[in-house]
Symmetry: C2
Subunit: 471 residues, 2 copies
Amino acid sequence: MTDSQLLSADPAVVATGADLFGDALTAQAVPVSSVDFRPPLEAEEEIDAALVRVLADPRRTAANAEAVDRVLAVRPQLVDVRPAAEALDLQPGTFFHAGPPVDWEHASGPLRGALIGAMVFEGLADDPDAAEQALARGAARLDPCHHHGAVGPMAGVISPSMWVFELADPQTGRRSWCSLNEGLGKVLRYGAYGTEVIDRLRWMSAVLGPLLRDAVRAHGPIDIGALIAQMLQMGDEGHNRNRSGTLMLLRALLPELVSSGAPSSDIADVVRFVSGNDHFFLNLVMPAGKLMMDAGRDIAGSTMVVAMARNGTEFGIQVSGCGDRWFTGPAQLPDGLFLGSFGPEDANPDIGDSAITETCGIGGFAMATAPAIVRFVGGDVDFALETSRRMYEITLAENPAFQLPILDFRGTATGIDVTRVLRTGILPQINTGMAGKVPGTGQVGAGLVTPPAVCFSQALKALADAAPPLT
Amino acid sequence: MTDSQLLSADPAVVATGADLFGDALTAQAVPVSSVDFRPPLEAEEEIDAALVRVLADPRRTAANAEAVDRVLAVRPQLVDVRPAAEALDLQPGTFFHAGPPVDWEHASGPLRGALIGAMVFEGLADDPDAAEQALARGAARLDPCHHHGAVGPMAGVISPSMWVFELADPQTGRRSWCSLNEGLGKVLRYGAYGTEVIDRLRWMSAVLGPLLRDAVRAHGPIDIGALIAQMLQMGDEGHNRNRSGTLMLLRALLPELVSSGAPSSDIADVVRFVSGNDHFFLNLVMPAGKLMMDAGRDIAGSTMVVAMARNGTEFGIQVSGCGDRWFTGPAQLPDGLFLGSFGPEDANPDIGDSAITETCGIGGFAMATAPAIVRFVGGDVDFALETSRRMYEITLAENPAFQLPILDFRGTATGIDVTRVLRTGILPQINTGMAGKVPGTGQVGAGLVTPPAVCFSQALKALADAAPPLT
């Protein structure tokens, strides 16, 4: 456009940054080209100063290298299936839950619903009303799964009579645990607590758990890491697509299930239950991720995120160089697709320990290998490809054991680096189920979400406080 | 480059077409930019004239539309598992085989090996030497699978005592059949005939077939089309990757297998056998493809390919508008990856009815959805994506039931059009296993191959001969 044209021709506007100017022009029917511009998260001097301190920490490079090495060395194996009371020394009246610590007063609807159901399931209350009153009185002790080597999807409630998968890393002997997956819809982890939910939990403890235990013990350790590697070549990303993983687990256990001597009707029921739930394997991917990321904990100077978890009220992260401290912010509402007549107004904010999948480099980070997932969580195929590529900008390593064929077999982006998140302004991409915000509802949809940026800025400040003084 | 520079500067050469000129310049260290240029296949006047005749055939558009409609309307279901003698009225001394008709004298090594093994398996010869002598004497009758609604991978030999999957299309009642998959390595269909091969075939007829029959009959029809649709979202392309398909078939049959009342050791053996062979489901994809493409046969004026099949000596195609006539050319040697110490000199030319997968739009045509396959058949991920895209240039339709997520859920390229192959010079892409050329060897590798162009030019001439005279 020449000077003379500038006054006579229609204006062409390129707007970056805040949408205010562009929106005003659009409202006046002026064509506007938006340029994607991400302002730095909390672009305050405080953050900049902390970034300088942390980037200058002479321990950082070696600490992160060690953290990555430890994470990538883990070989998660399924070694047992046991009641939580026994495996986790979980006492009656105590309930583990997803995410950072929370009390009843601050608990979200789906977490409350799951606790109500668990009280009834454990025989600590005769009905949901009595359970709710007892919980409001403080009759139960709440404790995060993550504080006990465990993880739980969505509400993540584990009670003593529930059975859990037990995973181990043969080299270090380290262990992790996760509940058994109940299926979709009206299930405890989504906050439902009706009779069908309690009956299903009873069958899971009476039949499913023992049969899986016998099969796993007869089979010997099952290499969950190898199954995850394979599922990534079979259209699963390990968080909201676990179809091939579930089938491969079933395949691994079948000969021992069939030969177990259990009643054939029980075996057929177990096979129908597992094979009818494409998400069953999620509860093995999650403790595998937990085992991997726990190996990277407590390395002074490391800026690697070792946990991302949500209790439905708050999103919390933990960082290797900051011990067991949680850095929290308000859980966000996912953007996604809804079941039936549910809509955004029915959804609870982000909830569950399942973001351990993204923490270990799969799930949302591996969506490129599972393009069909966009029909479940929203977005499109380009978004799935672009997301996986973008995650390399905020991670420390690529996992050679978990390859994404469509990205020329590149290893998954692994080990979120707090400093890279702050420097790039790119937040980790999580895909997730959505629970109804009203206790008792169950699942309402699935979608895409990110952590609140404040988790990372707070973690950065803590890392800066722990860094040696600048010389 | 200006005129004055033309004489002083180094020459810049762009070479298209035959490599002779470019190669000569390259040998003289002149930089050459090669431009990919495909001359028309058999660029003779005869072909051009035939193309004009066929393209002007007023029946063509409607005939192809009907052919496509019929193919896409098929809903292949697994309805039974039966001995071939019963299902196909196959008499002792007759053997079905892959590809177009061939006699013993012209049979390739792997077909000879499979026939030798089948003679021993059927008790028609005491040992391989006796079998070979009997076959050379003409003691057996050879007949293509395709002439009987059947298909067989590689040598594709079906004998009366072998069991076959029986598929049906509920709307038309049309049926198709395929042998049960033996696994990889030393197996009959790759031309091996040792004791382990014969013993495995005996177990398959005594245990595997009857247990699968009982499970299928107890289950009722299994929707193989739906499983194919799902496997395409799970990293399988249905020819050389059938991992998730195999797992889904197992899942479908398990409850009935477990409840069948058969000895649990037999059930466990069947589960181990099926789940230990990622290719088991190929033998259900193939008859599904056969059922689809047979529906498109015998439509006067249609230029759609309804079969591509190889007997190890010749590659043959059949075209809807040309009845049961085969258009053949010499089978090509695949380019690919070899097992162990095997190399190209060990490989037999292209063999098997499994190219029915590409004929119906999956296999090589769907490689974009199965990028991990390039580690098995060669090529790279870009090649896989590009191949699937290129196949749309030679096909009549996209199959809305078979979607490729990575191509934005585009339906598979379906219905190869003889005229488009000739006009574009693009040959259908097939991926395939490779058999050892010496009878008894078994599998030596897997790779990529195309039909000989002459199949299409011959078919075109036949279509032209059958077309109404130009007015």
